[in-house]
């Protein structure tokens, strides 16, 4: 799981063009939106695409999306549980 969290941090930085942010700057338990990295709604859509593209998993509902995209850890847990 730790390996997946580290991989995800790098993928998020790259996908969202988070210049000047290093993987170690990201607290895997911190909220990704508003607080933490301060991501916005377009970033949320980009993360949904990332999960589908890199891991072949679709987030089926907005409600699931809220829970899955809460933090890097929740993303990793979702991917770990649903990876084909």
């Amino acid at each position: 799981m730790d390996e997946l969290v580290e991989k995800l941090k790098n993928e998020i930085i790259q996908a969202l063009n988070l210049e000047d942010i290093k993987p170690e700057d990201i607290d895997p338990t911190a909220p990704l939106f508003i607080e933490g990295l301060g991501l916005d709604s377009i970033d949320a859509l980009e993360l949904i695409v990332l999960i589908e593209k890199k891991y072949g998993i679709k987030i089926e509902s907005a409600e699931d999306g809220k829970k899955v995209l809460y933090s890097v850890n929740t993303m990793a847990e979702f991917i770990h549980k649903n990876k084909k």
Binding site: L16, N17, L18, E19, D20, I42, D43, L45, E46, V49, E52, K53
Partner: protein
């Protein structure tokens, strides 16, 4: 007040990895590629606006040029500032990048690219950063149309609300780009550095545009 009372008070040109303000070379990065050049300009002139890195190249160029010209409009209410821009490639640079994300064998449409697939998004980005609320327009033209540009700017300035227009050419396609933006405003007695001011005429717009075309 008619258009003979209007002046072009400041100009910013970005081309061939060089940046000029009022004919003075400010930055010259000959050894780096376009993306690295855009990053250098950010660190040199913007510094703390992370959203810059999420923008397409058209918006990045607009944000840099607006920053370099912003001292002209920092004391003017945003509702009294207008923006009139023009280019030939529209948003084709970003359209192409977005198209790569919707190929049938690799269909993952990028939301962050999609939101920049209109040329006037750069206008919105400049408005957000500098709190500009006036009239805006973006024209697509094969070549710089100085007559159209003159007429639109004069028309906007003839409106009592507008005090200043941020205008010019901003074009990018792949690694080819040419930005020539300037500020046109109503002349008044408070202006001190008269030597730097250029009368707002169709001929001067053409001269200002052509001067840097072949650098």
């Amino acid at each position: 007040m008619n258009s003979t009372n209007y002046i072009i008070s400041k100009q910013c040109v970005i081309t061939s990895n060089k940046l000029f303000v009022n004919n003075k070379l400010i930055d010259n990065y000959s050894e780096i590629n376009f993306n690295e050049f855009l990053k250098e300009l950010y660190h040199e002139h913007i510094k703390s606006y992370p959203k810059y890195f999420k923008m397409d190249n058209l918006s990045k160029l607009g944000i840099i040029a607006a920053e370099l010209l912003s001292d002209e409009f920092k004391n003017i209410n945003g509702k009294n500032i207008s923006i009139v821009l023009m280019n030939s490639a529209s948003s084709l640079d970003t359209d192409n990048n977005f198209q790569k994300t919707i190929m049938p064998d690799n269909y993952f449409p990028s939301p962050s690219l999609f939101v920049y697939t209109l040329p006037n998004i750069v206008v919105g980005e400049i408005c957000i950063k500098h709190k500009i609320f006036g009239e805006t327009a973006f024209f697509i033209s094969e070549h710089f149309d100085e007559k159209l540009m003159y007429n639109v700017i004069a028309n906007v300035l003839n409106n009592a609300i507008t005090e200043l227009v941020f205008a010019g050419w901003i074009d990018v396609f792949e690694n080819n780009y040419y930005v020539n933006l300037f500020v046109v405003k109503k002349n008044n007695e408070l202006l001190v550095n008269q030597n730097e001011l250029v009368n707002f005429t169709t001929e001067n717009l053409k001269l200002l545009f052509n001067k840097y075309c072949n650098i």
